[in-house]
Symmetry: C2
Amino acid sequence: MSGSESIARIGDPDDPRIVEFRNIRERDLTGRDNRFIAEGTVVLRMLAAAHARGGTFAAEKILLLENRVAGLAEELAGFPADVPVYVASAAVLDAVAGFHLHRGVLALGHRLRRQSASELLARLPERSLVVAACGIANHDNIGSIFRNAAAFGADAVLLDETCCDPLYRKALRVSVGAVLTVPYARGGTIESNLRDLAETGHDVWALSPSGSTEIRSIPPAARMALVTGTEGTGLPEEVLRRFRTARVAQAPGLDSLNAATATGIALYEMATAQGRL
Amino acid sequence: MSGSESIARIGDPDDPRIVEFRNIRERDLTGRDNRFIAEGTVVLRMLAAAHARGGTFAAEKILLLENRVAGLAEELAGFPADVPVYVASAAVLDAVAGFHLHRGVLALGHRLRRQSASELLARLPERSLVVAACGIANHDNIGSIFRNAAAFGADAVLLDETCCDPLYRKALRVSVGAVLTVPYARGGTIESNLRDLAETGHDVWALSPSGSTEIRSIPPAARMALVTGTEGTGLPEEVLRRFRTARVAQAPGLDSLNAATATGIALYEMATAQGRL
């Protein structure tokens, strides 16, 4: 088991060795110094795998509720021995985190490097499926987009500069760790990201309730990209004018599908069209 | 505008006229006396429509942040004049609710009657699409199931006795009010609900990651039912043995789709197969 020599008990919430886990709920909103909090067993496992692959993400330390250690032997064995494991009682752990952590599994990760949209696109396989997200500021929705991208085998996610950081604790948790497995870039405008996609041979389809082609009917292509925006304001007019638009057919009514579900359905259809599923 | 005579200002969080709105976060978990809290503009509008249809739900009273009144003239006009409208400052409203209510729109509704699964099934049209949910205890997931059911025109939702109440504040909000529009019954076991569905001529399809038929390939029928369970434990073995099973194809990997998204995709495919969309 990893770091069996290095499992250390924390008795003081102010212990400097675990300072990065202090008040993580508030810090969830700040995103800084390329570090992130992984929460829960599944995300812990994904962090170990990302660390082992190397290059993009590294694990720094792990903090567990004392009674979780035995049950996590397999997950902990996935980390090298130089990643320290700290344990604490429920009272200390809650005092550290600033709220009740019923799962009792936290890790600190580090993003080793960012990549730009063009770097990412240059490394895509010949047949590719990409999600381009615009203005997604909600952590649940960002997390869901990554979870869906992973479920349907998308090769990359491009987030424009107005999207929130997918490494925020809650987004990472909702993604069930998919943020650590699906390659992504964050930055630039949606216009520049879509131009890059078009220039690398992608058929770009903008998803909108008023889209002109039903999503089941869009023609397959070796390279396809799905553009998705927020539930409220949707995609910018400029994007809907310049690119082909697709919709998920719905019963008539006032309200539309949840953005994450609509994106999931569209990705399922595009992945099916490409023969990936 | 509704109740223009009856708009009353509340200055004291303990005012007995608005006692039902006290500490709604805690009470969210209790579900009692057939009352429920509707939150936000869209759900308020759906409550007005449900009240106007009559028979199942009625509105009792409305409580608004003072600066929201003018912007809600259209919604308020949807309620009869004998539904009182109360207004309060942000400080009073937050003290009433027990947390910061940034939307500032609350209403108290009342369920006039419950219906059983068999009553509901007896009133279905000749061609029907029904969702049968099993063990959904999460309010977000219950809300999403209703939202998806409405989006794809399902005729009814049957919740087994282990599902939570869809009228809980958060479930109703996540459903964007669809709980007030899609007919549903809650109670009985999943086995009895599925037997009722089979006896009323429904082709029953149990959704599972290990399902044998890809959801796009299930044959259309005049009456179809989708059975959906929790993300973690899934549907009972007994259900998977007795009924035909369907899956949403995914990329290989450890984790599966979010339950709400999987249900959304399955309903979209079934509604498409039935020619509803």
